[in-house]
Amino acid sequence: MKRQRPHSEQTVAVLRALAATPSAWRYGYDLCSELNLRSGSLYPILIRLSDRGFLESAWEEAEPGRPPRHVYRLTGAGIAEAAAAGHRASPARTRPRELGTA
């Protein structure tokens, strides 16, 4: 069985934010704002979660004169991973706090 490294604190925060409303599609910039996470940290996390099958993405319907936005939500495996990551993390580590260190 493949051994996977534990998620970083920032990844756990992203998983928890997405798992809070698992059926809702979320925007990248909104996640940055909500988690106080810089885009340079958020997108590599989203890319890794997508590569590992925890995140699904889609293109939103384009508004006139504006490009369509990319939206994200957790897959079934992602929801399970978020729950497992939540159990693994200690309460002190998952307390809301400043994450933008990138």
Binding site: Y27, G28, Y29, R38, G40, P44, R66, H70
Partner: protein, 273 residues
């Protein structure tokens, strides 16, 4: 002022063009997001962060698949030739044989290095799967052409099959370029498919010849053997098959890349029109 306001977006667009070809969806996603941010400072910070993440994008699992697959195929190809030399010592008839073996090894090393470069940074999962599938389809087509010729099948079928491989190459180049919006990604897909096809055709063609001692022996082979000076018929047949296999190892990827290039160029031209 509009230009100054769009400076972060221009910088990000530049990074997407230079570094984001392998992850086109993510580059487009970042560009779409940055246009939604009205606050100048937040816009600048967001664009700079995205640019940084594009430059240092994490390697995808596909990169490892392509590199490891090429290493395994390369090792298997060299092992096939090695097994042939061990099983049929008469193949090593002089300096020419070793020159040919060295040339073959150079081609294999070149392909493995090319695969490693094509795979990092690698394509999105859909395009990688499509490239692997197209490579397999091209290989099957070439093998079917060979089988049809050796079994004296209908000439019409041979021509039809011969045209199908290049069509797959064109379709792959077109699809990958149109989907990713980048001719570079399209050609990367074509390159991966070409290597898959080249290695698959060689391994099946040469491997079967080594295992079956070059059988079945047709009338032409029996006739030419008499004047070949080869020690025995099996050695002569395997020698012929290995020669054909090595030629296909070079020819199949070349044709695939050329036809894929046509597809990618056509898709690019259509997008620009």
């Amino acid at each position: 002022m509009a230009t100054m306001r769009d400076l972060p977006r221009a910088l990000l667009a530049f990074c997407v063009r230079v570094f984001g070809a392998s992850r086109p969806d993510w580059g487009r996603a970042m560009l779409a997001e940055v246009t939604r941010i009205d606050d100048r400072r937040a816009r600048r910070r967001f664009a700079l962060g995205c640019a940084r993440s594009l430059v240092f994008a994490p390697p995808s699992p596909g990169a490892r698949i392509v590199t490891i697959g090429a290493l395994v195929a390369g090792a298997a190809s060299v092992a096939t030739v090695g097994a042939a030399l061990l099983r049929y010592p008469g193949l090593a008839s002089g300096a020419g044989t070793w020159v040919a073996v060295c040339g073959f090894c150079c081609v294999v090393v070149l392909y493995v290095v090319a695969a490693a470069r094509l795979g990092v940074p690698v394509l999105e999962r859909h395009l990688l799967t499509t490239a692997l599938g197209a490579g397999t389809a091209i290989a099957v087509t070439w093998l079917a052409v060979g089988l049809n010729a050796s079994e004296n099948g209908p000439k019409g079928l041979g021509s039809l099959l011969l045209g199908f491989g290049p069509l797959v190459g064109v379709a792959l180049g077109w699809h990958a370029t149109a989907r990713s919006g980048s001719a570079r990604v399209g050609l990367r897909c074509v390159g991966i498919a070409a290597l898959v096809a080249g290695f698959a055709v060689f391994l099946l063609w040469a491997g079967e010849a080594v295992v079956a001692a070059g059988r079945p022996y047709d009338a032409g082979l029996l006739r030419d053997f008499a004047t070949s000076g080869a020690p025995d018929l099996a050695t002569y047949a395997v020698n012929e098959s290995l020669g054909t296999g090595i030629m296909l190892l070079v020819l199949v990827p070349l044709v695939s890349v050329a036809t894929g290039f046509v597809g990618a160029a056509a898709a690019r031209r259509t997008a620009l029109a």
